[in-house]
Symmetry: C3
Subunit: 237 residues, 3 copies
């Protein structure tokens, strides 16, 4: 990459100090959710740290690899690792308290989702100048960590069968790119896009909105694994 | 990447319009197989779209990341996304009809397999000039999407335990690279290589050919739980 | 990448012929462990070869993609593929003998772990000049193959819930980077770092050391299925 583009990216990033703080809050909320899931699966100390880090940084690492931002920020910026370690330590030391945090965690997770989707879309746009790539990778930045967590824990990724989650990230990345692409972008663009994502996610949580699942006749005849998955998704609410 | 190489790649790609059409047919066949699998697992609307897109484009994205073709064509070329969305919409709207397509789907899937293996090998060769990398990544282009689908659906990838599928892709990529490497390549090279892959795959389907599975005494004697524990204590890490 | 850096990397690598030999021994030990696991899962011939190759080379490929060393050495250097094929062939042809190798395999695996962690950290340092990235990717080089094996075989990666394994790789990569970063590096640096990793791993095996697992009251009280459902409803996404 040319130095000029490097400087441009650098300037763009430094302009948003408040943004960086919110990014770290989002990372922290994601990391807490990873640490809780890892501890519930009874992984050992190291396993908890790895899963925590993957949830917090995995989506961004996949995005950076796909756009050629080498080495990925999640690996080269010590702040992400530090936040992950902090979240893992907190979850281990104060598990009952963290468990009781369900609502705050869901709230910050929704904010993290919006911030990651918008920041991921923006970074991809700067590096590739492709709006489609920016929307797809903005969503991947936001939900990739959770997908990697579920792959590591050997279960079907939750975002594929439950709730309006990735769709909210898709909305946030699309609003950001729509405004940017048609040159309506301003100081408020990322905040509007983030707010759209967060609002959709919180409304879906509050009202229990879900995307349709399509019943198929051949499934009625199928094995018990299906029933277990169904049971799990029913118990969830 | 230098502009000269970019132009070379561009010229090479533009020369094959018929090729592009067949590539999209292959993508469509792959996408249909992904959408059917996702719908059978009762994923929601979004989950179906994601799995469909991964099956259609996942292998190519992994290849492009490995050869440095950034951003991957599967993300930056809207045609692949459009074909995936079309396949997902068709599978949702006309599921009984699509289900009845088993034989046409297997036929187009075999053609997609051959085209992806050969095109993947050729693209890798142009970017890396390494015949071994081209053969391995040609195969990965063809089967990677199916492997990612099975990882997302939390099952052992079908290609690792069933049928002559990846081996047919390996044959196609190897024929392409063999002819190219020893400078016997001509206008017909990709078609011969694709035909070799498709013929082997269809013959294996028709005659039920399979690769050998090696029986092990210790697996026959033990119940699954016990075998798993033994396996855990046996393997090195 | 500039030619000068390329030459530097080349010179650095060529200097260590003994190192290359030990690297291939480590690759071979990793490959044997992959082939044994694949055969126990009754994968077919092709599945065994793929899993063997992934265990031997997967970690290095992930590292090379993350640092931009394109195409990854595991794909472009035929020696790694040849060693993997040899290990797969041996495991298929002489399975009872290989099964009886438990202790030698664990021993060579520990040596491979140390060599991969240190070499991975060193390569990452040369390419990125970031000590944190080098430590993380050094560990990834060493354990990534095993994690990919477990993901392909649809089980929770062993390193997340068992034994001191990844932690030993972390120690090796950290010692290497600590000495390099503070300019205490010498001819002996990689050997000291490798020895630290191997010694910790072998001692942990011999004395049965493990990392702590944190018991949680809610898991003890619930049957597994119920706990999983609770987990699904608890974590954020």
């Amino acid at each position: 990459m040319s130095l000029a583009l490097g400087a441009h990216v650098g300037a763009h990033m430094n302009a948003h100090t408040a943004y960086t703080v919110l990014d770290l809050i989002g990372t922290f909320a994601f990391a807490i959710s990873g640490a809780v899931a890892a501890r519930q699966r009874r992984l050992d100390l190291f396993g908890i740290v790895v899963v925590t880090f993957m949830v917090a940084c995995g989506g961004g690492i996949v995005r950076d690899v796909c756009i050629g931002a080498i080495p990925p920020a999640g690996l080269s910026n010590w702040a992400y690792l530090a936040v992950s370690l902090l979240a893992a330590a907190l979850t281990i030391a104060a598990y009952p308290q963290v468990r009781r945090l369900r609502h705050p965690v869901l709230f910050f997770d929704a904010i993290g989702l919006g911030l990651f989707a918008v920041a991921g879309a923006q970074k991809t746009w700067i590096w590739t100048n492709s709006a489609e790539t920016a929307i797809v990778l903005g969503m991947v930045s936001a939900v990739g960590g959770g997908v990697l967590r579920d792959i590591l824990l050997s279960r079907v990724p939750a975002i594929l069968e439950r709730e309006i989650y990735a769709s909210a990230a898709l909305l946030g990345a699309s609003v950001q790119m729509g405004l940017t692409y048609f040159d309506w972008s301003s100081f408020w663009t990322p905040w509007v896009a983030t707010a759209a994502c967060v609002a959709l996610r919180l409304a879906a949580l509050y009202y229990g909105w879900r995307l349709p699942v399509f019943q198929t006749r051949d499934l009625v005849k199928k094995p018990p694994r299906k029933a277990a998955a169904d049971e799990a998704s029913q118990d969830a609410h």
